[in-house]
């Protein structure tokens, strides 16, 4: 049901095209919540591939952690993510095995029924419908065609690479040609798999492997359809983009949260909650590992002397590696690891987190979170970054001087609330608690008497 022989062939084919690290366990893409995703990642090491429903499995994960789970949980019996049917079982599955149920409840119920009745399990490819089989045959033919095209394209690229640049019209022309050929090759790779019902099903179940281009492509398309639009709108409407950076093309999905609480872009966050560092989930859709720098900037620090605003840096964390399969940036945990590290250069957090705060009565503060890709995957000097001044922080010049390019951004907002006084006291700003901002009175223009001349 799960993997066709044809797919296996194709993965082998892709591997010879480009070097991609092997799949690490199973994950749910985009279709699941971020919290569950993170839990899954921690659990991914001992996870088993999804077993076919014909033989209800004794999950290896379950056996391995059986001695850890409490007794009342063991009474729940086996919970198969393919076959849990009601809400209670789904909850228990998530609680005990930290695994999301797969697919729709209707499908799980059907699988369970058929398993109970000991019905003969027909593999997906062999379903006895004539039209279905004809369609499959057609799609397979198309796939073979595409694979042949891929092979010829690879050969062409290889030949061109070996060719003398003088023959192919100069080095620049050769590079352009190679680039366009590679682009076409990537397109073909997507086209070969895009119509595969198994691929579609795996993606919708959240079991797609983000190391493979087709799943990355599908995830990207899904993100662009709604989530990216919302994020883009929030960033531009709240003027993060001209205020902090001149422009930004979002290329990676980002989820923001504090502890267990999810924060939508632009939400007001209670000051007690934002006292701790946020956690980020950055889903990239381009292959390979990246080193990223995370910067949090407050864009609305009031300066009453100059009657204007300035910026303040709340956090700089550098040299964090992410990849399509490694999306989580748990800043809290990174800070813990930093405390253990002896070498100051090996640390990742250059400027530690300070809690966002706002004066009473002041307009709301936008806390923008930027994720920058580091130039050519080079490590940045954390000790040098640590000397950055927090107040009057200019993100444009910071990004320019460190050769950073922003891949994504998000924001949350803060204003005075009940817990702000406590937060400010703990942050060592006790003398500023008793300051309130009030609107300045506007002086009216001097009254002009209507004189004879004005008439």
């Amino acid at each position: 049901m799960a993997s066709t022989p044809s797919i296996r062939q194709f993965t082998a084919c892709i591997r010879c095209v480009r070097q991609i690290p092997t799949a690490n366990g199973r994950r749910r893409l985009l279709s699941t919540s971020a919290v569950a995703r993170e839990e899954l990642q921690t659990q991914a090491a001992n996870a088993t591939p999804p077993a076919p429903p014909s033989n209800p499995p004794e999950g290896a994960a379950q056996n391995a952690s059986a001695h850890q789970v409490p007794e009342y949980m063991q009474k729940w019996g086996t919970l198969d993510p393919q076959m849990v049917e009601n809400k209670k079982q789904e909850r228990r599955l998530l609680r005990r095995e930290h695994v999301q149920p797969v697919g729709s409840r209707r499908r799980r119920a059907a699988l369970r029924r058929s398993a109970l009745q000991k019905a003969v399990e027909v593999p997906f490819e062999q379903l006895p419908y004539q039209c279905f089989q004809e369609a499959r045959k057609f799609l397979l033919e198309d796939r073979q065609e595409k694979i042949k095209e891929i092979e010829t394209q690879q050969l062409r690229i290889k030949n061109l690479m070996e060719q003398d640049p003088q023959l192919s019209g100069g080095l620049a022309a050769k590079e352009t040609r190679l680039r366009s050929m590679r682009k076409h090759l990537n397109k073909l790779i997507i086209l070969a798999d895009i119509n595969d019902p198994v691929v579609k099903r795996k993606f919708e179940d959240g079991q797609g492997d983000m190391n493979k281009p087709i799943y990355r492509y599908l995830a990207d398309q899904k993100w662009r359809k709604y989530k990216r639009l919302v994020l883009d709108q929030r960033i531009t409407q709240m003027s993060v983009i001209p205020d902090l950076l001149p422009s930004l093309d979002l290329t990676a999905d980002i989820d923001l949260g504090f502890g267990r609480k999810e924060v939508a872009p632009g939400d007001f966050v209670d000051s007690a909650i934002s006292e701790k560092m946020p956690r980020l989930n950055v889903q990239t859709f381009t292959p390979g590992e990246k080193l990223v720098t995370v910067v949090v900037v407050d864009a609305d620090v009031p300066v009453p002397e100059k009657d204007s605003f300035t910026y303040r840096c709340h956090l700089i964390a550098s040299n964090i590696s992410i990849s399509p399969t490694q999306t989580s940036i748990p800043l809290q945990r990174i800070a813990h690891e930093d405390q253990k590290a002896v070498d100051p250069a090996a640390k990742k957090i250059a400027l530690p987190w300070i809690a966002p705060w706002a004066h009473k009565g002041a307009p709301y503060h936008r806390l923008a979170i930027f994720v920058f890709e580091q130039n050519e995957g080079r490590m940045l000097d954390v000790v040098k970054l640590g000397k950055t001044k927090r107040s009057v922080f200019n993100l444009r010049s910071f990004a320019d001087s460190n050769k950073l390019s922003a891949i994504t951004a998000t924001l949350f907002r803060t204003k005075w609330d009940d817990s702000m006084a406590g937060v400010m006291e703990r942050a060592g700003l006790k003398n500023r608690i008793n300051v309130e901002f009030k609107r300045k009175k506007v002086e009216p223009l001097p009254y002009k008497r209507r004189t004879e001349r004005m008439r």
Partner: protein, 272 residues
């Protein structure tokens, strides 16, 4: 060929019954018309119908009082928030930087600064805008990718200890007790809830001092009210209650119908 055509009217005039002989003058006339150009001479003619009112307000007043539209502040003039810069019918001008539309499309300033009349092709190709530049040497529009220029327009003030909420609360709670008359009866009438020691009143959205909703919600708990426990699946109680409700509804309906005067005639008997 031409001659017979020219002479045709002559022929017709000659072809009139013999009893009537046209005078020689008419003959000359017809000849003149036939030889002249075929187009009719333009004639100005007015028809004056008695039913059409030409004077007064019948055709809409064309010349009412002026509405004093137009620019109230010229380019470069200093304005403060709320100053109307331009009055117009429709939208000849659009509000740009630090400006807004009024309810009649007039444009007013939201910041103090210097008026600028400008176009912004990045925003809209055809519109003309009125904006307020914050500094005298600024030109509008501001560059597209630059950080916005903003003013705080606020001053830091020390929070006065007089507005200590705890002190307020006590006073307010006392006020609610006696309703001002000071008579013992008024105090007795006030519910016991209001005299509670731990009563905390806060200012809500409506500028009224009131308890928080969660505190109100626990009133029954404080009063020690016992509610009969709901037993799911107790059909006997459910049936009793529902039948009582149905009875009450029937009774209510009957009373309502009795009080209503029957204006409508009764329905006719149905045909067999």
């Amino acid at each position: 060929m031409l001659l017979p055509r020219i002479l045709a009217p002559v022929r017709t005039s000659l072809a009139t019954p013999t009893t009537f002989i046209a005078p020689s003058i008419r003959v000359l006339d017809t000849l003149r018309v036939a030889n002249g150009s075929s187009a009719p001479t333009p004639v100005l003619s007015f028809v004056r119908h008695s039913a059409h009112q030409a004077q007064g307000r019948a055709n809409g007043a064309k010349d009412g009082p002026g509405k004093r539209l137009g620019a109230k502040k010229s380019g470069g003039e200093y304005v403060i928030p709320g100053n109307i810069i331009f009055r117009q019918r429709g939208t000849s001008w659009f509000p740009g930087e630090n400006c807004k539309f009024g309810r009649d499309h007039c444009i007013f300033a939201t910041e103090s600064g210097y008026v600028r009349y400008y176009r912004d092709p990045n925003k809209h190709a055809k519109r003309q805008y009125i904006g307020v530049a914050l500094e005298k040497d600024h030109t509008l529009p501001y560059p597209l990718n630059a950080a916005r220029r903003r003013r705080l327009n606020m001053v830091p003030v020390a929070i006065t200890p007089a507005t200590n909420p705890a002190a307020d609360r006590v006073v307010v709670a006392d006020l609610t007790v006696g309703d001002g008359t000071g008579s013992p009866s008024s105090i007795r009438d006030t519910p016991r809830e209001a005299t509670r020691k731990s009563l905390k009143l806060t200012v809500g959205k409506g500028y009224a001092y009131r308890e928080a909703n969660w505190q109100i919600g626990r009133a029954a708990e404080r009063a020690g009210v016992k509610v009969k426990e709901f037993v799911p699946g107790d059909r006997w109680t459910a049936w009793r209650r529902s039948s009582a409700r149905i009875q009450a509804n029937i009774e209510r309906k009957r009373l309502r119908n009795a009080s209503k005067k029957s204006g409508k005639p009764k329905a006719r008997k149905q045909k067999a």
